[in-house]
């Protein structure tokens, strides 16, 4: 029975298929090496993206820059 080897080391296009390093894949999409909920190295999908703030601050145009500011209070 063939063993299943999840490509934990990601994509690798540097080798022919027969010599490609273990735990790599020539093609993949939206997978990550760690199960995001359990933090176990068994593979899984990427986490979903959710809105953090309620507003569409770009009114349909891109948010082009994000930063943070720290201020002191007396």
């Amino acid at each position: 029975m063939a063993k299943f080897r999840f490509p934990l080391l990601g994509v690798n296009k540097n080798f022919a298929a027969s010599t490609r390093p273990d735990y790599t894949s020539s093609d993949m999409n939206n997978v990550r090496p760690f199960d995001v909920l359990e933090e176990r190295a068994r593979g899984g999908q990427r986490p979903g993206m959710r809105k953090v703030y309620n507003q569409d601050i770009g009114s349909g145009t891109p948010v082009v820059k994000i930063a943070q500011i720290t201020t002191v209070e007396l």
Binding site: N29, G44, G60, Q68
Partner: protein, 543 residues
């Protein structure tokens, strides 16, 4: 009843955000099925969305930080042989963020640029909201950048430059004498409010901004007096009440007083006519990206972002520099990547330079690599250990903390990655961001025209690159790892194509679109190519 909650107890409040579920079992069952979430109905019904797995210990760690002020529900079903005993539903409420941090003397806010406006987080009343700063009109279709320094945000936007000031009090009045930066003005009103003068808009308007070091306020008619840096007595008679910093002020970023006469004793040099790149380094603000002199950079005086006067034999003086050997025209500056105050990496079009130490006080400027350039102003990030990563012209690179190594990470994995991506800075936005929660980097490549995208996750634990795709409206235009006070907001923030700020959340199986109500979008093409031990290929689908 077999299962009894030990921690948190049922209906407990003020539970820490890193709570772990603990229970006792009078029957000593074989294992336990854990249901946990914020939806009581789903937990009660044993919905698969809230099923967190089967454990054999009498504890379950959610492995994610919980959300402040949120009620959670949990249920433990005891498994003994083939029998499963459904448990009761228990609840607890997580501590509020303000209750968690006491005696706090500072605030952190997220800020963002979008839709020709400056936006800031409403942390005082509703942290989940962003507020637009009224009246400040930007042009986000033009090159725009910002940097935090001295409790302000400095913005360059084409030929315009702005300061958004979150700390100073604004006063206006009739001036007698020369008010110099750094002097202390004491008011004669109730409480004798005092301010340290920070910025003057110039004689045409005579508006001053300064930090109020008292709890008293300035009111119309107050006379503020003090001695300037030359020991002269000066005063301002206010013609209006002082304006507190909430909401923040904004004003044009000029030199102090915007004085243009070089013979004036308070002349502070001239701002560069055009800047598109900003960085903070050793108490200076570096400005570069001027298309008429793209190889040069200006740095303000140390501890004074309103002084660009170049002085000899003054280690704190403003500096004008270029990344080149003597007699050469330097390489075009594309990006500036500071590492604290230790060194500043200049990402140029065909080379990488390092400024170590202070440019006016014994520092050195040397090429680190003369064959590799950087693919965009924001095509870099730092990880939690201080290593710097950037998308170079021939691969993705890591510059180790303290410059101990310079490595092309894709050379042996995806040697043609830049060619494969078809990178063109005019057509694509290239960004990088560090996700401290998931221990990796997000490399985003977004087509400006339609938001189509090609992205990679670089996992810092395995060193592997993992291609990802996002819906076009969620494609990446900006990334920032927000070191928020509120742990729930301490995340990699994504500036998306559709105008929302999003984050990767492990509790979300699907992407959240921009509808008013939550709408899930399945994550497409969760797939990989497997090589089985027998040498055959097969298609896999991650579950």
């Amino acid at each position: 009843m077999a299962i009894t909650p030990t921690s948190p107890t049922d209906s407990a409040t003020d539970v820490p955000i890193n709570a772990v579920l603990v229970w006792t079992d009078s029957v000593e069952s074989d294992s336990y099925k854990v249901y946990f979430g914020t939806n009581e109905t789903k937990v009660t019904n044993g919905d698969s969305d809230v099923f967190r797995g089967e454990v054999t210990e009498l504890t379950y760690d959610p492995r994610v930080l919980l959300t402040y002020s949120t009620e959670y529900f949990w249920r433990i079903d005891a498994v003994l042989g083939a029998a499963v005993t459904t448990g009761s539903v228990y609840s607890f409420t997580v501590i509020s963020s303000t209750a968690n941090i006491t005696g706090k003397k500072y605030k952190k806010r997220l800020v963002a640029l979008a839709d020709d406006s400056f936006h800031y987080e409403d942390i005082d009343s509703q942290p989940s909201d962003m507020i637009a700063l009224a009246s400040l009109v930007l042009d986000t279709s033009e090159p725009i950048d910002m940097v935090e320094a001295y409790q302000k945000i400095f913005i360059v936007n084409g030929s315009d430059k702005w300061v958004v000031d979150f700390s100073n009090t604004k006063v206006v009045g009739t001036v007698s004498g020369r008010i110099t930066r750094g002097m202390i003005l004491v008011g004669d009103g109730a409480g004798n409010a005092q301010m340290v003068v920070d910025f003057w808009t110039g004689s045409a308007t005579d508006i001053f901004y300064g930090f109020n070091t008292t709890s008293a306020v300035f009111t119309n008619g107050d006379v503020l007096s003090g001695q300037n840096k030359d020991g002269e007595s000066v005063s301002i008679t206010l013609t209006a009440d002082g304006v507190l910093p909430d909401p923040p002020h904004y004003y044009e970023w000029t030199t102090y007083g915007d004085i243009t006469d070089p013979t004036d004793p308070d002349y502070k040099g001239e701002m560069p006519s055009l800047s598109t790149i900003l960085a903070r380094f050793r108490g200076r603000i570096s400005l570069s990206g001027n298309s008429t002199v793209p190889h040069s950079w200006d740095m303000t005086r140390q501890d004074d972002p309103f002084d660009l006067l170049f002085l000899e034999e003054d280690a704190a003086s403003a500096v004008l520099g270029a990344n080149a050997a003597i007699g050469q025209i330097g390489d075009v500056v594309i990006s500036e990547m500071p590492y604290n105050d230790d060194y500043l990496i200049f990402g140029c079009s065909n080379s990488i330079w390092i400024l170590a130490g202070d440019p006016a006080g014994g520092g050195s400027l040397d090429p680190l690599n003369e064959t590799t350039g950087i693919m965009g102003r924001d095509a870099w990030c730092k990880d939690g250990d201080g290593n710097t990563y950037f998308v170079g012209t021939d691969g993705i690179y890591r510059i180790a903390k303290n410059l101990t190594s310079f490595d092309n990470l894709t050379m042996d994995k995806i040697p043609t990655i830049i060619k494969d991506l078809g990178l063109d800075a005019d057509k694509q936005v290239v960004t990088m961001g560090y996700d401290g929660r998931q221990h990796g980097l997000v490399i985003g490549v977004t087509e400006r025209e339609d938001g189509s995208n090609q992205n990679f996750w670089y996992d810092l634990r395995t060193g592997g690159f993992f291609p990802e795709s996002y819906p076009n409206q969620m494609s990446l235009f900006g990334q920032f790892y927000y070191k928020a006070d509120n742990a729930e907001y301490k995340r990699l923030m994504i500036g998306c194509n559709d105008g929302f700020i999003r984050t990767f959340d492990v509790t979300y199986k699907n992407d959240e679109l921009n509808d008013t109500a939550y709408t899930a979008q399945d994550i497409d093409f969760v797939s990989y190519e497997l090589l089985w031990d027998d040498g055959d290929f097969d298609e896999g689908v991650a579950m």
